[in-house]
Subunit: 313 residues, 4 copies
Amino acid sequence: MESPTAKLDRVVKEIADEMRQRPDRGEVASYIPELARVDASRFGLVVIDADGHVAAGGDSETPFSIQSISKVFTLTLALGKAGDRLWQRVGREPSGSAFNSIVQLEYERGIPRNPFINAGAIAITDLILSGHQPREALGEILRFMQFLADDDSITIDEAVAASEQRTGFRNAALANYMKSFGVLSNPVEHTLGVYFHHCAIAMSCRQLAMAGRFLAHAGRNPATGLTVVQKERALRINSVMLMCGHYDGSGEFAYRVGLPGKSGVGGGILAIAPGKASIAVWAPGLDANGNSHLGRVALEALTKRMGWSIFGA
Amino acid sequence: MESPTAKLDRVVKEIADEMRQRPDRGEVASYIPELARVDASRFGLVVIDADGHVAAGGDSETPFSIQSISKVFTLTLALGKAGDRLWQRVGREPSGSAFNSIVQLEYERGIPRNPFINAGAIAITDLILSGHQPREALGEILRFMQFLADDDSITIDEAVAASEQRTGFRNAALANYMKSFGVLSNPVEHTLGVYFHHCAIAMSCRQLAMAGRFLAHAGRNPATGLTVVQKERALRINSVMLMCGHYDGSGEFAYRVGLPGKSGVGGGILAIAPGKASIAVWAPGLDANGNSHLGRVALEALTKRMGWSIFGA
Amino acid sequence: MESPTAKLDRVVKEIADEMRQRPDRGEVASYIPELARVDASRFGLVVIDADGHVAAGGDSETPFSIQSISKVFTLTLALGKAGDRLWQRVGREPSGSAFNSIVQLEYERGIPRNPFINAGAIAITDLILSGHQPREALGEILRFMQFLADDDSITIDEAVAASEQRTGFRNAALANYMKSFGVLSNPVEHTLGVYFHHCAIAMSCRQLAMAGRFLAHAGRNPATGLTVVQKERALRINSVMLMCGHYDGSGEFAYRVGLPGKSGVGGGILAIAPGKASIAVWAPGLDANGNSHLGRVALEALTKRMGWSIFGA
Amino acid sequence: MESPTAKLDRVVKEIADEMRQRPDRGEVASYIPELARVDASRFGLVVIDADGHVAAGGDSETPFSIQSISKVFTLTLALGKAGDRLWQRVGREPSGSAFNSIVQLEYERGIPRNPFINAGAIAITDLILSGHQPREALGEILRFMQFLADDDSITIDEAVAASEQRTGFRNAALANYMKSFGVLSNPVEHTLGVYFHHCAIAMSCRQLAMAGRFLAHAGRNPATGLTVVQKERALRINSVMLMCGHYDGSGEFAYRVGLPGKSGVGGGILAIAPGKASIAVWAPGLDANGNSHLGRVALEALTKRMGWSIFGA
């Protein structure tokens, strides 16, 4: 009989093969010029189970721009600094709107609905920045990622950061808008600078799945044995990921995949099977909501075949 | 050492005692005159585990108006009739708005965001009604509840139904608005009549927890041995409950409780611990989002003490 | 040299001829089935100057459904009954939204922005109805129109009223929504019944221009010598017509025509040149905002050639 | 019998006296720190009739910050440069929202509703700036104001401009938002710099009334004999002033005053009585919509006593 590890290896390989052959690949993000150049045929999938076994398929070692997936880690870092008073600056409800909508901010006096829409992530970045120079804050975020992934080679793709900085007018609108309500406390340019740069961190699926392990295991990274956050906090970060991790497609992701997950416009998704596995998938083509199309399809197949949905087995 | 059953019994009793003594009871719903008369000091909690063991505390046998909790069961019934084409009439994303908001309907041409806001539940009712007389459709819904709870004594509180019918202008606005976009196919009065009546079904915590068991066990009711819905569908209903079951407080419920759940303005909540238990709680006082205040507090205590959060154990 | 009267006659004839030949006729309203049957090639124009001279062109004697133009007269009637406390139930600002939008009502707790969007006109109708049977209120409105036009032959087109009553779900949504906020005090069906019927009053351009004369002459109808409303009130009704009379195309109408005016989806427009003339035009084809396309074009030509813009001569 | 000129002089003096004594003075704008220092007891009124007679009352020679009144003149200038294709970048409908709302921009893809809300005025400034350095564009605007007022002593209050530049985050949000839709073609900082500076132009009531004379006289300044814009354009600028000149209080201004007018948060209002007079009033206290409270009260008294309403005499 097939062992659980063998099954996982087989399922990951099968899915990588299936995805490679699918013609429906979505559209590569075009609004950040540097991202538009990425090859839509790429696909990577890495699953790391509770024992640390790594099941890898496709382009599992190729770094890609993690973009909004970084928001899971900046939220974690900011909670460590500010604790629950963080929730005075950012809500934790689904927004019912697109990732870059400004309408809700006007109706709710500059308080973003959650930490995973752009406005909320900018507010979180501002909180991390507080009292530091942008360079220091950014260094802290990067070192946190390297620590979580246990890999010092992780870097920021400066070309992507510069590309977004040149064209990120909508994020500048969100930041200035929050600033007008006193929600940001640093100079807008500083906050945006750090935000654009942490979104431009480049990681492979393997690195990303490593970095997410503490969320799958109640706050503790089994690889390092270190507790990153207390158990309760890890569970709550997972809940925010499930509710808000895919913008206006969060309901769809929960319905089809059944795992907490956070997507980025670079085509990556980090998904967490609590107690079971940390999962990273990468497929650059996006759906209409700005989430990786084949990434979601692959995760749906994975949770179904492995019986990992949090909504029942 | 304490057995799991003994522990569950103890925890349920403890929570019932704690809740009875808390001064913060929320506000009993006032917009339906008949509900405003309910005694805010009532509290009931019933947990039925996988083996069918019933742990009960407080007013566990007193019937209350299940109100919007009925929407879980009408969704189940409508999926059985219409299958996935149901999702052409109703979305499955959180709305980011109050339970009775009409704004989203205008921007999205009469298609409600999900089956658990009022507009969505009215559209689901219209789907069940299709081709039937209101009396027949209502009979079908009631018999379905009796079948799920294995209890023929469940009835509709006609005084509550009449009270809502006299004052339900906002629901009439939602129904007429959807009708103008062709989303409803029956006469508005018929659809609203059935809707007001199924919301007025009265059940005790014990009956409600019984009726929810199929959702905790992959679509099969362990008490009767009957499969109510296929496994995949049960999981997906749970996902919609988590994402949308508490209106604009769904994120908060996921964050604090960590279980799929559906609230009603009568003060009840049905919550599902997949693979573990079906849970019903009742405390008439509501919070600002229209969800039972102590119901949520009790469930937060329960999942924490039992380690039942779906986001990690 | 041409006398002013001769010039007016000539200009009206010229415009009627020009309009008859234009190929761009707009789209006849389709959402009220009975109106959809009207012949798009019809065109009528009547101007009555300060001396009572009637300049007529085209189908000036054919009755058409005045629809929302009736709102000018119900506002006048309601101001006579309720005086300025009417403005506690209805605002007097442009809405920035379509004629049948419900969004603003939600954000402003059921108080319509002005008396000329559908919601506002329904609230005004409710005010006229107060304490009467629908039949009496409707009789009062009809007699007021006959009195103003000095013509007892004006009637209600019952087929149009019945057609709208069968299909007016969006207006039913608006009425129920306001009712839920306590803005309406009569049964919703009564208020809507009177509303649908006064919108179905049929009048010719000649009758309509006659009825509007009191607005062109500071509240006094020069034909009858009777003061309909005091001067100040007449001026203010004109101001509301200018600001709100063409829904989301009010700015465009002011920019191009430069006169207070009120349109109806039947293709009619009543326009007022203060101190100079009362004007009625009819062309059934509508533009994207639901206002008569050629009606507006004709009025633009008229004010330009006669030098009647209120914004400078 | 009193001559028209004597009557005007008397009425202006009376109103200035009445206003000086009123206790209800509104609230001086606080969001621009430099403006918050202005003395709320100031009041000035200047009316210049068709013959060039100047009737002055109160602080008629004290310069104040014209703020948004400058938008009338930048619109005039931009129409001279771009002609009617200006209307592809900015609409001309009332917005139904506050002066600094961003909601409408999201729903209408970055195109502001009209040239007098902040977003629209920023887009107009961007159009004037096109192909120039900020300093040149600003010089052009200032020289245009000096030319219209026939007074080279008009200057920009640099302290006010700097104050707004430091705190104008909401305007920066609007500008960045439009930039993201490609509605602005210059660097955001350049456009905002020019915008903040032309809003900081300081003028007295006398200078402002002089500058507005071309709008009262079909595009021609009777003082200089020069045609500033063609007649049609002058009328249309007046229409946009009436529809949109007082933000979300435009309907109220039209209802009470009955003249095209444009307000600024410095407490000034420019009003136009077509064919009769150019009027400037200044009272620093604002109402809830951000318009001068006593300025509006004074204008209401003036039009009533002089019989100048455009809605009937």
